[in-house]
Symmetry: C2
Subunit: 252 residues, 2 copies
C-alpha cells in the first residue's frame, strides 16, 4: 500500500484525488489546499487541511499547484523521508526545494473543471532521481492509468512547447475558422467532422504525410482567393503558415 | 429512382461511386474517367467509359474533377435536360459551363485514397438554382449521408478558407509538434491524446472558451522558455499566434 497526499486545489489536484480515491492499492491519506473551500466537496473522499504544518505522513506528496508556487510550497513540506513530486509540464525537477527525494508526475492533458477525465487515455510522464522512486511513481500511474513514459526535465520542457502547438495553437486555428464562419453566416458545426478527422488521421499517418490543401499543392489561385476573404490579422497568419508548409516539408 | 453519373477518377469520385452503388433509390448508371485505368477496380459496381461523347442518360451528372478542369469538362457534357453539379469547395456555381441547370454537391471532408469514408459523418453543402433541383440533391445526399446544409457560393468559399485553417493549418501545428518531439527524442504519440481531446472539446465549448495555455495567461516566463527551444521558423509562428491569441479574444 502506497500512502499519498495531494497538495493543491486546482483541476489537476481534484481530478487526481478523485481517481486515486477509487483505487485499491493506493491510500489517499490527505489533501491540502491553501483555500480549502476549493475542495470541501471532496471531504467524503479524503481528509482535508489548509495548513502545511499539519500534513499527515505519506510515502509520496504530489504537488499540483501553479508553476510559480512549486518552489515555495515544496520548501515548506518538511518530510525528508518521503518522495515529493510536482505535476508540471514546464517546471524542471529541480524546481522542487524540499530536503529529500524529488520527482515529476506529469499527466499530459488539458484538464477542465467540469469535464470527467479518463486517465486511461492520458500519458503519464515520469521522472525521478533513482530507479526505486521511478517504480513507485509507475505504480501510482498504473493504479489510475495505462500509458507511462520516462521523460526527463529537458524532454518534458520540449514536450510542453510541442503541446502548445498541438493544443493552444490548434485551438486558435479553430477560433479563426469559427470567426470566418460567423462573418459569412455559416454554422461552425459544419466543420466539426473535418476537425475530428484531421485529429484522427495523424494517429495512423505522420502529420507530414497527412498534409493536403492549397499550400501543399502551391495552388496560388485558391490562396489568393482565400486571402481576399480574410481580415489583416488572419491574412498574416495564413501567409506565414502557408509559407511554412511550402518549405518543402523540411524540418522547421 | 434518380439516375446519376459520376465524372472523375479521383478520391471523391471513387468514394461517392462506392457509396451510391449501395443505395436502393439511386441508380448509378455510369462513371467517366479520362484515364479509365484509375477506376477499373469499380467495374463490378458501375459501367465505365473514358469518352464524354458516350455518356449515358442520367438525371444528375456529378463532376468530381480538379477545380481547374470543371469548366472544360462541364462544357463538354451536352445534356440540356439534366442537372449538372460539381463537388468543389472553392469553385462557384458559375464555374460550370453547361447549357442547363447547375448545382453544387460538396461533401466537406478530406478524402484519402485508402481510408474508408463514413458519409453519415460528412456534411453535404448543397447549392442549386431552383428549389426542385435542391430537393433532388437533398435526396442524393440523404441516400448516403445525414447532414445537409444549404450553402451558397460565397458561403462555400468562406467555408473552404475556414477549412484550410482547421485542417491544413492545424495539421501543420501537429507537424511542428512532431518536429519538436523528434528533435528532443520524445515519442510523438505522447501527444495523441491531447490532440484528440483538443478536437473533441470544441464540439461542446466554443474555441474561444476552450483556450488555455501560456499565451492566454500571458505567462511570459514560459513563453520565453519555449522560444529558446525552437528553430527560427518555429519561433516566428509561435510569436505570431501567441500575439493573436492575446488580442483580447477579439474577432480577428
Amino acid at each position: 500500500m502506497i500512502r499519498i497526499a495531494i497538495i493543491g486545489g486546482g483541476n489537476v489536484a481534484i481530478h487526481l484525488a478523485k481517481a486515486f480515491s477509487k483505487t485499491k492499492d493506493i491510500s489517499l491519506v490527505q489533501m491540502y489546499a491553501r483555500n480549502s473551500q476549493q475542495i470541501t466537496h471532496l471531504k467524503h473522499l479524503v481528509t482535508i487541511t489548509n495548513n502545511l504544518d499539519l500534513l499527515a505522513t505519506a510515502d509520496v506528496y504530489i504537488i499540483a499547484v501553479s508553476d510559480d508556487a512549486i518552489a515555495k510550497v515544496s520548501e515548506k513540506i518538511d518530510k525528508k523521508n518521503s518522495l515529493i513530486v510536482h505535476t508540471s509540464g514546464s517546471a524542471s525537477l529541480n524546481t522542487l526545494k524540499n530536503n529529500g527525494r524529488k520527482g515529476v508526475f506529469y499527466p499530459l492533458q488539458s484538464f477542465s473543471k467540469d469535464k470527467e477525465v479518463n486517465f486511461d487515455e492520458i500519458p503519464f510522464c515520469l521522472e525521478t532521481e533513482n530507479k526505486e522512486d521511478f517504480k513507485t511513481l509507475e505504480k501510482l500511474a498504473k493504479s489510475i492509468g495505462k500509458k507511462i513514459y520516462p521523460i526527463n526535465s529537458k524532454q518534458r520542457k520540449s514536450l510542453h512547447a510541442a503541446a502548445v502547438f498541438v493544443n493552444n495553437f490548434t485551438n486558435h486555428m479553430y477560433k479563426i475558422g469559427a470567426d470566418i464562419c460567423e462573418e459569412y453566416q455559416v454554422p461552425f458545426e459544419v466543420l466539426h467532422p473535418l476537425i475530428k478527422e484531421t485529429a484522427q488521421k495523424i494517429t495512423t499517418l505522420s502529420p507530414k504525410e497527412s498534409q493536403t490543401g492549397p499550400a501543399k499543392r502551391n495552388d496560388q489561385e485558391t490562396i489568393l482567393n482565400h486571402l481576399t476573404l480574410l481580415t489583416k490579422e488572419q491574412q498574416k497568419i495564413y501567409q506565414l503558415i502557408t509559407k511554412s508548409i511550402q518549405n518543402n516539408g523540411e524540418k522547421l
